[in-house]
């Protein structure tokens, strides 16, 4: 077989297999996402996200120390 033909066939087959695998991977990803359990917040009926509680911690004075 001509070397050009051989290489062309390799390129073509690889490309088509990659496309098929890419589509398969995407469908598998979507299937896995669909089976994923819903987040806890959502199951509880949806805590309103616009109500944002902010807790400010009292600052601890640490003179120029560095973390461990």
């Amino acid at each position: 077989m001509d070397i050009n033909m051989l290489l062309s066939t390799v390129v073509l087959v690889s490309f088509i297999v990659t496309i098929v695998l890419a589509v398969g991977s995407y469908l598998a990803f979507k299937g896995r996402e669909a089976r994923r359990p819903e987040p806890e917040l959502k199951r509880r009926g949806g805590e309103p996200v616009f109500f944002e509680r902010i807790y400010l911690q009292p600052k601890k004075a640490q003179a120029a120390s560095s973390p461990a």
Binding site: N4, M5, L7, S8, T9, V11, L12, S14, F15, I16, T18, I19, L21, A22, V23, S25, Y26, A28, F29, K30, R32, E33, P39, E40, L41, E47, V49, F50, F51, E52, R53, I54, Y55, L56, Q57, K59, K60, A61, Q62, A63, A64, S65, S66, P67
Partner: protein
């Protein structure tokens, strides 16, 4: 040594581009049977595709090179520009990485700054772990606040509201900044027209083939485009892992909106609309964890693509009106091209040409076609890897990048685009972190 290395690689890149051009103009004259109508149509389509591809690469590489030269030759005033900055670290279930992220922030080369961690209602130990590091550390102060879960955009808005400094740096809880990131980025704000600085994102966990390919993609794809856009002061996405903003610009733009899954792209477009310049600083580096598995990669790209489509749709009035703001219009066109046209061309162009060449009994065209695209990618990889003084071992991966990675990602992008048009419901898709930072 570095200069010689750069010249060598640039020369190699130019040579490769020349070879690619030669192949491109040789293909139509190759002796095969061109009586087949499919092959004739294919040649026309493919020649157009190659022209667009070459033009895309040349424009991006050339503008990127100009930005690189401009950055390297810029003379900074002796007096540094070092106003107070607040670093905002939104964190949701980042217990594996949050302490490492905070510790790295305490080592920044900058005289005075605040670190504000916003725990976005994590269900793990993120808040407790971050709170352990709360306090004063000389140049830096660490504060931690907690709020009910509402997403990254809301967490950042909370941080912007609590910040009391004229500039804020927004990052991800799973990212790490280079020591000089803040100092390099801040110098751009001497120009009062600059509203934001986009940093340089690098993949830190180069542990398997997927992450190494993403490392190359960040350099050759994302950063190359960002560098080119930076030259014209119109970066269209200030990346989530590192973006520095003038707080006033953020406030006037209304902060991050929560109606898209690409809040960083949306905010950037709002700033461009308001007339702010957005520049790129390649020395402001953020190291981020890239998805290590195919499924996580697809999840990330799905969210990115749909988010960008949502941002495009939101700003669609400017998409077809170049007279509103030219920089904004160019940015939107560029996003549209990269989000839809480029993946479409990559996947369907390849498929169409392959089948047309086979139908005409001339599979050798497929080889030429693939060789040309691979040459282009290798040339672009050499050029961009050299400019960032990155690991040269990434360059050979350009072959696999063209062959497998781009196709896999582009197929996912096309599906995501179709789902966005069909309004398919989606979730945020939190990635699992391995805690490698």
């Amino acid at each position: 040594m570095r200069v010689k290395y750069l010249y060598f690689v640039l020369a190699a890149a130019i040579l490769l581009l020349a070879v690619a051009g030669a192949v491109m103009f040789t293909v139509p004259h190759t002796h095969v049977d061109v009586n087949s109508p499919q092959l004739r149509i294919a040649i026309v389509v493919v020649t157009a595709f190659l022209m667009i591809t070459m033009a895309r690469y040349l424009v991006l590489l050339w503008l990127g090179y100009l930005q690189h030269v401009e950055a390297k030759t810029r003379v900074e005033p002796e007096e540094r520009f070092e106003p107070l900055v607040t670093i905002l670290v939104p964190a949701y279930n980042e217990e594996a990485v949050i302490q490492g992220a905070i510790r790295s922030l305490l080592e920044l080369d900058y005289p005075a700054y605040d670190v504000l961690v916003i725990d976005d209602g994590s269900t793990d130990q993120t808040y407790a772990k971050a709170a352990e590091l709360e306090g004063y550390y000389g140049r830096a102060t660490v504060r931690v606040v907690s709020k009910s879960n509402g997403g990254k955009a809301r967490a950042l808005n909370t941080g912007i509201g609590l910040a009391r400094t004229p500039f804020v740096l927004c990052m991800d809880g799973d990212s790490k900044l280079s020591v000089g990131a803040l100092r390099y980025a801040m110098q751009h704000f001497r120009d009062p027209n600059v509203g934001a600085v986009a940093g340089n994102v690098k993949v830190v966990n180069r542990r398997n083939l997927w992450t190494r390919l993403q490392a190359l993609e960040y350099i050759e794809g994302l950063n190359m485009a960002r560098r080119a856009q930076g030259f014209v002061h119109a970066v269209n996405i200030v990346p989530g892992p590192i973006g520095v903003f003038r707080r006033d610009a953020l406030s006037r733009a209304g902060g991050y909106d929560t109606d898209t899954y690409a809040e960083d792209a949306d905010l950037t477009l709002k700033l461009l609309t308001a007339g702010w310049h957005i520049v790129y600083e390649d020395q402001a580096i953020a190291y981020t964890e890239a998805p290590e598995t195919l499924f996580d990669l697809l999840k990330q790209r799905y969210r990115w693509t749909r988010g960008i489509m949502q941002a495009l749709r939101k700003h669609s009035s400017a998409l077809f009106n170049p007279r509103t703001r030219f920089a904004m219009w160019v940015s939107l066109q560029s996003m549209l091209f990269e989000a839809i046209a480029w993946p479409l061309m990559n996947v369907f162009g390849n498929l169409f040409f392959s089948f047309a060449a086979l139908a005409a009994g001339a599979p050798v065209y497929v080889l030429y076609w693939w060789l040309l695209l691979t040459w282009l990618d290798v040339a672009a990889a050499l050029h961009t890897v050299a400019m960032e003084e990155e690991d040269l071992r990434l360059v050979p991966l350009a072959i696999l990048y063209r062959f497998f990675f781009v196709v896999t990602v582009d197929v996912a992008k096309l599906f995501a685009t179709a789902e966005e048009f069909l309004n398919v419901k989606m979730g945020w898709g939190k990635l699992e972190r391995a805690g490698r930072i």
